[in-house]
Point group: C2
Chain length 272, copies 2
Amino acid sequence: MQTADAAGHVFDATIALSPLDGDTFTGHTHPAYANMVGPFGGAIGATLLNAVMIHPARLGDPVALTVHFAAPIKDGDFIVAAKPMRTNRSTQHWLVELSQEGEVAAYATMVTATRRDTWGTTESSFPDVPGPDSLPPTPRIPQTAWTRSYDMRFIEGGLDGKRSAEEPSRTRLWIRDEPPRPLDFQSLAAICDAFFPRIFVRRPKWIAVGTVALTTYFHADAAQLAAVGTAPVLGQARASRFEQGFFDQSAEVWSAAGTLLAVSHQVVYYKE
Amino acid sequence: MQTADAAGHVFDATIALSPLDGDTFTGHTHPAYANMVGPFGGAIGATLLNAVMIHPARLGDPVALTVHFAAPIKDGDFIVAAKPMRTNRSTQHWLVELSQEGEVAAYATMVTATRRDTWGTTESSFPDVPGPDSLPPTPRIPQTAWTRSYDMRFIEGGLDGKRSAEEPSRTRLWIRDEPPRPLDFQSLAAICDAFFPRIFVRRPKWIAVGTVALTTYFHADAAQLAAVGTAPVLGQARASRFEQGFFDQSAEVWSAAGTLLAVSHQVVYYKE
């Protein structure tokens, strides 16, 4: 197992932002998280989240993140501007914009909040799956560099045609950063976008696809994420409907101990 | 069965906006869609969507809508500003802000797109439920005026304690506008927020709650919505996790003919 070197983990370099002023930052795409064209969307979403995490006015921890992939992002530099739209006593609402050459290429809205103890319960069920150590790592996809930045072990619904009979586009896998990195909100946000487009599971055929918008709800606080450490998390994704050029997919991300860390939903464009 | 009078349906009056300039409109809350405090969130979301629907620069039909309820909205007037963040060949990304007294109280992001014929399928299943005519209308909740603007017929998961054994917070109901009104994107957006907070189904007890952010993906085009007409639609909602002051809930809205019209997800604040 590799570990991050003293210079820090490549994911941290990927989501790094340098302040220009209080609300504005500069960043750049990283080849370790490149997709077939442009950067992996999960890394962009994590970068937009990171702008709020390092913002001096932030109140509390992330509760909700919606990312709009508004236009293709070019490899290279970008500017990120984050502003609180409204700050309440215990919740705060944000708008974050990523621009290149003066045009918005992606933007996000967020809710951060001070969390506190309440009654709680989980209604979703942790699936009946083999542990990560009993499964081989899935070979990376050569055309997508970002898949080399994750250790993925598919239980079902990979790109090898092994599918669930009752839910043909369902995927279950163990996933962690490669090299290992302690889980935090930024890496969890990226993992929530690491599920392949459901149409490739449902109907193996090469077509043009792209996430249009993605929403993640965080159900864990920083301490629950820290408790996961560098261990793999269990991801599960499914689709509801494919119709006239767009489909939706929903994912759950669980710790091996059975804590539902986040749920995520996205709508994806497809060409045919 | 009542019908709308010649002056138009009260829902249209509720979401009505008057142009101030190309991007800016004025609107006002309506007593028929009042909640216990302030307006019903579904009516606010539909109003923000309506700003895009009537905007002269709109490209295509709604695909995604995310609404942030950033602060309490006061009964009375408000200003809505809608702007395209990025316009592509077949998709368009929007930001819409609702302000009162110079402060943002709610805002939304949207994707609109030109839809076209592609391969398609539905993976979610229409539930096995009795038809709407075999069920009595559910009594309205006196404290929430907006519930009088809907005909709701609960199959399970109403506020009467009749719950699903396997999913304790699940609701299934038939719902339509009251008086009847032909379904369109605006009314479907409002119906997607008409599911009671899951915590009241799961744990009947009066506590303070409020939707923080809501995302809806539209799976139907205008023709599929028009085909529903004024008939009731089947709604189904469930929760994943309740934790430290926030829970998520997800909903599906189906036509009686078995078309999945929309899916919707929200994160809700709760006090204890």
